[in-house]
């Protein structure tokens, strides 16, 4: 047991701490606040405290738990909302009311609830089991089978494995090791600061389909890949993250609200139980774990929240699920590191951030990936991190450290957000390095034409941007007709395809099939319009065609009507062009 010597905000120095280890969790002061040792100097330990240290004084006791910061994993974890150190916020609420009290502890997962456990058929009692091996499962929600795995460090002959109804604390089997019987329960602990082991990592070849057109068609992220969403405030980082959390085709979603707004977490809490997963027809909340350490909650717990999230993600990955984790925002996480580093009086790196910031960022993103887990199942973790650069300037250390490691970059643009073009992903500066790896999947799933159309569309947009520079100088009238048409098609791509309304029921998410239809319609318009131009039809007339409104209203088409609508729209478009050409032919004759 140690004695507090010095307190400065969330940082406490304690003496007489010999015998404790680096990164051990400790109980600090008379109020038993939770902290973690982050430095050892002789008998002194420097501790970051996950709660407000107000009212604490020198001379108060510190006790080590002898355990590193860990999360509890087991059935009942889904649909929960936790703070940065995995305390369930609903339980804290029942203990201390609307405001978070101090020194509260709570079991991360409900221990009273009974679960029906089904033993894995392939495992006979007496068999030799290894860490990570699946010994059974629990139907946690209607669609998620929660597999029970042998915790790390336990290996040996299994006995007593059978179906039954158990609470988390009851043993579902025993493993014999060196003559000792170790009970296996359905709950296990994993230390958060180090990634969980697996057999192999693979390059990913399948996209995380998000239902967001600009992402799926232009800048896809692979399942098991990484993406960064940097942007100034008001550019829609949170909305885009929430859209992905809602509509992506991941099996499990971990949403980490790291140092962000309280009301946004409320939004998620209110909406997710009501929203239905389009794939499984079940409430979205059933596949989601929320971690909310809002900006006004203790800063050290904010630092931990990211690790808590990724460790839970790894647990589900090991069961063979595709997991998507959103961190909003990694900049707040970095700031928490900076604040603690400054209190440690470490020599600052760039902009006051600690010199180890890039390493921490890289370590975090490297915990993504498509892997074969210890039990042979294939699972994946896709990491999507929001970055909030100061003043929107990407030259700052967090953005730069992130861009060096991630492979998809969704650049949110203040000017686009300013004109309410959402999602404000800039189509000229964003990139996805997965395009080649995913090409085969796209060709197989939607067809070659989609890939070709996508490439044509990016070319049009590129050309449009160049032309717009010229227009700024000489006016649009000075352009030749075919270039005016490029401007128009560019406008259609931007407004009628890329722009997507997150608050509209139909438009919030678009299937790949419908995306394919929308792109085809716009590019079909382009082809027909070029033909018309070559038959001397004036651009002014083309720009007044009814088909343009048709194209603009494609967003309103319900998914079930896509097939029928596509045919009708293209037929009408062709007819209108034909009409126009006839008119001109007659006028010329």
């Amino acid at each position: 047991m140690g004695i507090i010597e010095r307190i400065s905000g969330p940082l406490v120095v304690a003496n007489d701490m010999l015998g404790s280890n680096m990164y051990d969790v400790v109980k600090v002061g008379k109020q038993n606040l939770i902290g973690e040792i982050i430095q050892l100097r002789g008998e002194r330990a420097v501790i970051q405290v996950y709660e407000d240290t107000t009212g604490m004084g020198p001379g108060e006791p510190v006790t080590s738990t002898g355990m590193p910061l860990s999360v509890e994993l087991g059935p009942g974890i889904l649909s929960n909302i936790y703070d940065g150190i995995q305390r369930p916020l609903e339980v804290l609420r029942s203990k201390s009311g609307a405001f978070i009290g101090k020194g509260l502890t709570a079991e991360a997962i409900d221990r009273k609830r009974k679960w029906k456990f089904f033993a894995e058929k392939g495992i006979k009692n007496g068999a030799h089991v290894r860490p990570g091996e699946i010994i059974g499962h629990v139907q946690e929600t209607e669609n998620i089978k929660h597999y029970i795995m042998i915790p790390s460090g336990i290996e040996g002959r299994i006995s007593g494995l059978k179906d039954g109804t158990f609470t988390l604390d009851q043993a579902v089997a025993k493993v014999e090791r060196n003559g000792k019987q170790i009970p296996i329960t359905m709950v296990q602990k994993r230390s958060v600061r180090r990634g969980s082991p697996f057999r192999h990592k693979f390059r990913s070849s399948e996209p995380l389909v998000t239902g967001q057109r600009v992402l799926d068609a232009f800048f896809p992220v692979a399942k098991g890949g990484t993406a960064a969403v940097p942007g100034p405030f008001g550019s829609g980082k949170t909305v885009i993250q929430q859209q992905i959390a809602k509509y992506s085709d991941a099996d499990i979603v971990i949403y980490v609200g790291c140092g962000e707004r309280g009301n946004e977490m409320t939004d998620v809490l209110v909406e997710f139980p009501e929203l239905v997963d389009p794939k499984t027809r079940r409430p979205l909340m059933e596949r989601t774990v929320l971690i909310a350490n809002t900006s006004n909650m203790p800063v050290a717990a904010r630092e931990a929240s990211i690790y808590t999230g990724i460790t839970i993600a790894e647990y589900f990955r090991d069961m063979g699920y595709s997991v998507a984790i959103m961190a909003d925002s990694t900049s707040r996480w970095a700031e928490a590191m900076r604040e603690i580093s400054a209190r440690l009086e470490e020599m600052p790196g760039e902009e006051g951030y600690p010199a180890y910031l890039p390493k921490r960022l890289a370590e975090y993103y490297e915990r993504s990936g498509k892997v074969e887990s210890l039990n042979g199942r294939m699972g994946s973790i896709t990491i999507i991190g929001a970055v909030s650069p100061a003043g929107g300037d990407l030259s700052e250390p967090v953005s730069q450290g992130t861009l060096r490691v991630v492979k998809t970059f969704w650049a949110l643009d203040a000017a686009l957000a300013g004109s309410r073009h959402f999602p404000s992903v800039n189509w000229l500066t964003s990139y996805s390095l997965y395009l080649d790896a995913l090409k085969e999947w796209y060709v197989k799933s939607i067809g070659e034409e989609f890939v070709a159309n996508r490439n044509e569309a990016t070319k049009v947009l590129q050309r449009e941007a160049e032309l717009k520079d010229i227009v700024q100088l000489v006016g649009a009238d000075a352009l030749p007709d075919n270039e005016k048409l490029v401007l128009e098609v560019g406008r259609m791509l931007r407004e009628d395809f890329l722009r997507q309304n997150a608050y509209d029921e139909t438009d919030a998410s678009t299937s790949l099939r419908k995306q394919d239809m929308m792109l085809r319609a716009i590019l079909h318009f382009r082809k027909k319009a070029e033909e018309a131009l070559s038959h001397q039809v004036a651009t002014e007339r083309i720009l007044k065609m009814k088909a343009r409104e048709q194209v603009a209203r494609m967003k309103e088409v319900k998914e079930v009507e896509v097939e029928r609508h596509e045919k009708k729209m293209l037929d009408e478009m062709d007819a209108e062009f034909l009409e126009l050409r006839k008119e001109y032919q007659e006028a010329q004759e």
């Binding site: 010095r6 400065s8 609420r93 609307a98 405030f233 008001g234 009301n263 006004n296 309410r420």
Partner: protein
């Protein structure tokens, strides 16, 4: 009364900081009383404590504090303020002492001014539309109860007038409960302070207002306390007394500067532009105190004034504020120069909670579409305008000229309104439709078709005219085409 030790062991005084040596048991964030040689007392707070010394920040000037004659006693409690309903109608200074010559408040309860973070699971989703009567806000960047929305202003812009107008007019639709107002003047000058007090008095709002005023020449360190005291009072009124409270923090820039002053006195490693690295967290601990809490009747809505140094939105103060608050309202110097009041620039302004508070049953079913469409057209009109500055108005196409006209009408009829003019949301949307009806019906692609059918005003004469023009076009353009091919 607890036994208090008076320490006379001040080791150093620098700026607002006093280091007291040989202190054994000072608690972190504990309040201290500092007694000067002449008997005067001041309050302070422990910023850092160890078994050897305590670093104390003094709320007030440090002049007159000496190393030998001044004593310090540690009070064993955090900074608390006595709160009561009788505070309504009163004016206090930045530390919560009466400034209006009235008696001390008899407290109903004492509360820690630092508050505690609201459990995110206890928050209620804010969704009650607040009608401010100002079209630019109600129509385009709707405010809801429980939201925190800053006014991004700059020196010389009428943010005080706008704040006063919102305070006077704001009400929840179909609700008779008005707002109680907690006003925190942080480092504002006497003139501005008097303006607000006069306004509140004139409109009768004063009796439901609690004002805390820290003037520009009051100790800057006191500014750390003022917003916290104001928010604590607001929490008392909202969560204990069930009132809907509108908190005005004016001006947060002065607060942030006081924070920087303190950080530099502590010789901390500075972040951007000398502001401390933890400023985001610190500002969040104030802004995040807005909200609605499950099971409590009241609510706290925040309107924060931030004056952007040299109109620069990337300056750390507005930048960090924007990252925490739920949107922002920009005031524009250009609009002021055009003589438009309120000079709210819709481009860049945003209310993140708008979609919770609008639509059928709350405002009107077409609200979202109208807002998006107005916004798109106005944004386009500004593009055209900057284009016309280069190529000249003559070179613009007919449709561009129409956009230009739309932009002007929008500024003059939608944005512009009187200081005492209160427009209902229906009026605001109807003005919106009058403007939208200047444009071709087919252009209104951001509004649902049936809403267009219901609200679009077809001007019989102009419609016919437009259609005729379109018919003429092929022959006309055809000719042109031939000319060109020659």
């Amino acid at each position: 009364m607890k036994f208090e030790i008076e320490y006379s062991t001040i080791g150093s005084v620098a700026g607002p900081l006093v280091v007291v040596d040989k202190v054994k048991n000072a608690k972190y964030n504990e309040v201290v009383r500092i007694k000067l040689g002449n008997g005067e007392t001041r309050l302070g707070q422990v910023l850092e404590t160890s078994d050897k010394h305590a670093v104390v920040q003094v709320f007030g000037p440090t002049d007159g504090i000496s190393v030998d004659k001044t004593t310090v006693s540690f009070l064993g409690e955090t900074f608390e303020i006595g709160v009561s309903e009788t505070m309504l109608g009163r004016i206090f200074d930045g530390q919560g002492r009466p400034r209006d010559g009235g008696a001390e408040v008899v407290p109903d309860k004492r509360m820690d001014i630092n508050g505690s973070p609201i459990n995110p699971a206890s928050r209620e989703k804010p969704s009650d539309f607040i009608e401010t009567g100002i079209s630019a806000i109600d129509g385009l960047d709707t405010l809801v109860r429980g939201q925190k929305l800053p006014l991004f202003s700059a020196s010389g812009l009428p943010h005080n007038e706008l704040t006063a107008q919102i305070t006077r007019q704001a009400n929840v639709k179909n609700s008779t409960e008005g707002f109680a107002i907690v006003f925190a003047g942080i480092g504002i000058n006497y003139d501005d302070s008097a303006y607000f007090i006069d306004e509140f008095r004139k409109t009768g709002a004063l009796k439901r207002t609690v004002a805390f005023i820290n003037l520009a020449d009051d100790p800057s360190i006191e500014r750390i306390l003022t917003p916290r005291i104001a928010l604590t009072t607001a929490e008392y009124l909202a969560y204990e007394k069930g009132m809907h409270v509108l908190v005005i923090l004016n001006d947060m820039t002065n607060y942030a500067e006081a924070l920087r002053e303190l950080a530099s006195a502590r010789e901390e490693v500075p972040g951007r532009r000398g502001y401390p690295g933890y400023m985001y967290t610190d500002l969040a601990s104030l802004y995040e105190r807005a909200g609605i809490v499950k099971g409590k009747k009241g609510s706290i809505t925040q309107l924060d004034v931030v004056t952007m140094p040299s109109d620069d939105v990337t300056h750390p103060i507005p930048d960090l504020t924007g990252y925490i608050t739920e949107g922002q309202i920009y005031l524009s110097r250009d609009l002021v120069n055009k003589g438009i009041y309120p000079p709210i620039q819709p481009i860049g302004s945003l209310s993140r909670l708008m979609n919770n508070g609008i639509g059928s049953g709350k405002t009107r079913e077409d609200h979202s579409g109208v807002a998006n469409q107005l916004y798109t057209f106005y944004s386009k009109s500004l593009d055209v305008k900057s284009l016309s500055a280069i190529v000249g108005a003559e070179a613009l196409s007919d449709s561009d000229k129409l956009y230009l006209k739309f932009g002007e009408e929008f500024e003059n009829r939608f944005l512009r309104q009187g200081f005492y003019e209160r427009r209902s949301i229906e009026d605001t949307l109807n003005i919106g439709w009058e403007l939208l009806s200047m444009m071709q019906e087919g252009e209104l692609t951001r509004i649902k078709k049936d809403h267009v059918a219901k609200y679009y005003k077809r001007q019989g004469k102009e419609e016919g005219h437009g259609a005729k023009k379109a018919e003429e076009a092929p022959a006309h353009s055809g000719k042109e085409e031939r000319k060109r091919s020659k």
